[in-house]
Amino acid sequence: MSTEAATLPVLAQRIPTPVRHVLRIAQRLGAVLSWAALTVAALAMLVPFIWMLGVALRTPADLYAHPASLWPHQWSLAGVSAIARDLPFGRLLLNTFVFAGGTTLLLLWFDSMTAFALARLRFRGRSVVLFIIIGTLMVPFQVTIIPVFLTVFHLGWLDTYQGLIIPRATSALGIFLLRQFFLAIPTDLDDAARIDGANNWQVYRRIILPLSKPALASLFVIQFMALWNDFLWPLVITSQIEMRTLPAALTLFQSQGGVDHAALMAGAAISIAPLAIAFLLAQRFFIQGVASTGVKN
């Protein structure tokens, strides 16, 4: 480690050999302990999910009798079958994909156009627009829920895909992140293109977009995840079970009187499953994606 190499020469002049040995051992020990601590911490982060899976596959009696156990003693598929029986699964999955996917695609398009204008084009009121956009980040959903519900109703979009998608098809966070990214792209290519006669749309489409693949990918990941997990919005916009999304439908298993732990956890596991699997398969993609949002921020 460079740390060692760097500090040892400095210390070496002042410390006798036996102590230096002890120091080195202590340093190694420290490193091992830190590795161990990190591993324990990492596993601890995952324990809730492992437990959740376990509960989904256990009988209630088992859960009550062995709370300290992560793994089932008595296996049971009752929770899973309760979910499968009570919910139109395929339809819910489809709805969730359409909602999360459709909204994210639209969002990428709208946000990138807006970010392009804010980053590359000069116009009067640019700062004001930026300020307003960032300001909307600060409004909790509960604040606007009723007026938005009424607006969607007046448009006749309740219980429809467009009602789910269109109001969410732009994101202040997305605009902000993409703008930061675009600002970091050197303007030489832009200028060259303009000299060749390109208009704004062509610069946007041919130069900026292709260069933004990492940022677009990362925004896709973040937004898809957030929209997939959003349960409050679909609950407000839809009433029929056929139009619900998966997380929203799972709230049907929570109630004040009587809790079916297995069903609830099975539902939780199923709602996380698609994202979790994608994450496990393409972890580097996910993480690199999120990481690049931090670039030049």
Partner: protein, 298 residues
């Protein structure tokens, strides 16, 4: 930046097409975010119940009531405590983790992935899972604590422990996300700065203070601002885990807003709360940006 008009196009000022680019986003924001915010503001000036034909004008009546409302101040305090604790803990831990996990090896990839994983789950799921995990009867936490003879705790039912528990869950959820963003920021710091510092005799801490932290400033600002905004909007975790109890010890501002607006149907009052929160977030973010910002990237 010099602008040369292409020979065959008509003379169109640049800012015009800018509006065209922004049109879809701006229309959506105007219709589905700005208008509702303004409508909420309008509602806050009245005694407003949905479905009533007329709404009594109150002027600043709701706001007067708000400032004399003990429960509101309690909610403000709870929210402030939560936000400060979660932001400090989350960012502090994220920085140390990012520094520690800087190099990409199979081990660090595993650890990074594990820390990031909670971000993948929705808040509703997390609230429910943790509520059961902390259950004194069937929960894992109490069972393990008992096995280690560390005693048994009523995490969510104890007045003293409820908020700290929620803070812990909040940190658990977002820590990985902040860590990843900081990791990327770290990778941007040029290696030669570290070499120069070492040559100047800086130890671990010295390098942290003089190279790492300054280099991370922009990223840190981003992470801190986002964490703060999230914290101030605390709702889902409270709603699914404690409902604001015990005895209002975990009632956040948005939770109180929800009670007023959707349980008591006093939408005028709830709107006033919403606006006060909105202003608070604006002010806090502005202060953070001023204090922590170095380069003006605008």
């Amino acid at each position: 930046m010099t602008v040369t008009s292409p020979p065959h196009s008509r003379r169109r000022p640049r800012w015009n097409s800018a509006w065209l680019f922004m049109a879809p986003s701006l229309i959506l924001i105007a219709v589905f975010i700005l208008e509702p915010i303004l409508q909420t503001g309008w509602m806050s000036l009245h005694e407003w119940t949905i479905g009533e034909d007329s709404h009594k004008w109150l002027g600043v009546g709701n706001y007067d009531r708000l400032f004399g409302d003990d429960r509101f101040w309690n909610a403000l305090r709870v929210t402030a405590e939560y936000t400060v604790a979660v932001t400090v803990l989350q960012v502090g831990l994220a920085v140390s983790l990012a520094v520690r996990l800087r190099r990409t090896t199979w081990f660090t990839t595993f650890v990074r992935g594990a820390f990031f994983f909670p971000a993948v789950a929705s808040l509703a799921v997390i609230g429910v899972v943790w509520h059961f995990l902390l259950d004194p009867q069937i929960g894992l936490v109490d069972a393990w604590l008992g096995a280690l003879h560390l005693g048994s705790y009523d995490f969510l039912q104890s007045e003293a422990l409820a908020l700290p528990t929620l803070i812990a869950v909040g940190v658990w959820k977002y820590l990985g996300f902040s860590m990843i963003v900081l990791l990327a920021g770290l990778q941007e710091i040029p290696a030669h700065l570290y070499e120069a510092a070492t040559l100047d005799g800086a130890g671990r801490l010295g390098r942290l203070r003089h190279v790492t932290l300054p280099g991370l400033r922009q990223t840190l600002l981003f992470v801190i601002v986002i964490a703060t905004i999230n914290g101030l909007q605390l709702f889902d975790v409270v709603y699914t885990m404690t409902g604001g109890g015990p005895v209002f010890h975990t009632e956040s501002i948005v939770m109180y807003l929800y009670q007023q607006g959707f349980v008591y149907f006093d939408l005028g009052y709830a709107s006033a709360i919403a606006w006060v929160l909105f202003v608070i977030i604006l002010v806090v973010s502005a202060v953070q940006l001023r204090v922590l910002r170095v380069n003006d990237v605008d």
